[in-house]
Amino acid sequence: MTSAMKSDSNPRPGIPALFTQPPPIRDPLITETIDLQNATLEKCLPFLKGIHSTQKDFNDHGVPALQRDLHISYLYDALEDYPEGFVAMDASRPWIVYWALAGLAMMGEETTRFRERVITTLRPMQNPTGGFGGGHGQTSHLAGSYAAVLSLAMVGGEEAFGLVDRHAMWQWIGRLKQPDGGFRVCEGGEEDVRGAYCAMTLISLLDLPLTLAPGSQAREAGLESLTSGLPEYLSRSLRCADTRLQAKHLKEVSPVALGRRPMAHTPFVLWHAFLSWGPPEEIFNRHMDIPMLVSWLSARQSAPEGGLSGRTNKLVDGCYSHWVGGCWPLLESSLEGKPDSTEPPANSLFSREGLTRYILGCCQGNDGGLRDKPGKHVDSYHTCYVMAGLSAAQNHHYRTDSSVASNNFASSFSWKSSPSRDPANVFSRGDRLEPMHPLYVIPHKAAEQMRLWSEAQPLTI
């Protein structure tokens, strides 16, 4: 095979040996884990070396350019019709819309042009009893509602914001709240950290009242607020002393990722659930074993691939550029940034170079779209989250003293970002993506406008 032959060839100039050589220490004992890692390494090497025949437009660092036009047309196409083989996506249509719109927003495309079509698509998915299901007639689900509301935020405007029945949403989320502080993902469904993350996102973006609606099971159990018991719940979900240091129920946020394997999703979901409701210094220091957490997170990056894995001894996957990589801006901001800083943090804690090389070198599909790793097909899910990882690595995120939110959640709406001017950057100017809000994963303006609109329409309860 050509790729096997090429893995013995010399790398393109400008690429440090760190990204083209096997790791310095390799145990002789071979097990299934090692077989899979070796196979992945073999597949990645020609891409890392910049010598795969499908790569093009290299810069002086030996990094191929972001194939912007191809990715943009891939994403526009992802919003249109799917053949019958995609029936497995029937419960994930709000996600398809979200992934494509978020990807287009990062590419600098105008997403408001889809306003009418997004509203048309989502309207039949909303249930009169609150929340959005994955499709018409489907039970309301926090993950589907998350994707639906973020999509509405990205198209913006009165009609889009007004589509959400916020009163019913508030009552529905109240019914999902559990006496132990967490949330079920849907009535009759499982309780896990995704539920907490999606619920906090919806509550803060839509400015829903925190008081638990009458008749909610949690209220009958003595809880008063939608945030009651939440820090305890999230803290319990983290296993600091064990070998993976990972929220125990973290799975994928979407019910299906384009028919692909579901993923074990990282502290991202957990931290974001925490952070959507308090400032990082406070949350991190009060509830988390920071040294352990930083160590675990850092160990998700390995060479020569440079990309991130989701768990110890698992393979690199482009989507963790977001689920793991998206945690760094928050940590860097609280560990390395000045307290209450309006300045970007001075130091990076992970290798932005490695992640950039993996994303641009290994994750770009031939005909547009991004992927898990070489040898895998592209899909909307990976396109969105690989790009989100690249965008996070290209920008610095920091909190300011000003927030559009006037009451609760002020901290969540105080984030700003600025493009990284680090001389160590290995991407070209044309590869730059728009920054996304580090908690809501939509453009800052989209999050702020939805919040402002919601605050201007207070619910009477």
Partner: protein
Amino acid sequence: MEGRYSTDPEWASVTPIDLDDGSSSGAMPLATIAYPAEYLEATSYLRAVMAANEMSERALDLTKDVISMNPAHYTVWIYRAKILFALDKDLNEELNWLNDVSLKYLKNYQIWHHRQVLLSSKTHFPTFPPKEADFLMEMFAQDSKNYHVWTYRHWLVRHFRLWDQPRELEDVEFLLKADVRNNSAWNHRYMLRFGPRDTSLPDAGMVNAGDLSTAPTEKGRLSIVDEDLIDGELKFAQEAILRAPENRSPWWYARGVLRAAGRGLAEWEGFASGFVSEGAVKSSHAVEWLADVFAERAGKEAEAVRMLTMLKEEFDPIRKNYWDYRIRKLDQAVA
């Protein structure tokens, strides 16, 4: 269109609810799917029986039909579980069917919640059905790190109080023998040995995890420590490390064990040093271990920095920024 349901007299009383894709508004909906006719028909009947909250045999059959076409349809699973209980169906029969579906759709998410809902019923399953463990091992033979299966097994242990059931540890050891790098199996072992057992409290990754008055670094520490058990687990981890020293899992398992016991990392200084001789470093985790030991010891900061510098320059340079951060922290502590 003539379909399986519209031509069946059993379904004649039901008026199907057609899919509303929103297009009546005049705008083109996004991300539409060219559903197969059978799927469109079945889901239109599903909407109708669900709207009526019908608990019947025919509705149960319908859910199976929809699942066969789209097992990722979470709504249909929840509805199916409700019907099973309402009609008091034989849940063992359901489990047998579920086994086949699970093996067919290895990465499906909904199946495992459904299984948990069934097994949660104390009426049907007052005690642990031992066949569960066999089936889970069949799943692990296909994918030994399957997240959903491990999460389910974690739940089973807690629900049926299986921490000390020999089968649990046997299965973990079998899987670690096959692949000592199976981190999921190491996690399960930690849960069996040191996980919280008070089922009157909500589940947690480790003891005191949800107690806000416990400092984050103290979480996981047991109030009563069985030192023999601790020593046994440390020995188990050491044996695994000797087989493959660059395997992160047992090193971090050992950290968890020592934390549970309230013992420091220093007692492994000699063991870790064995992998860090001049010119032949066999484990970056051993170097990191020594860095942590020295960082805690007054007057040894320079040694800690030397270890961190080795990691940064030689053995784990992709994490250079992290090792630099650690070095800066030490400098601050000394200054």
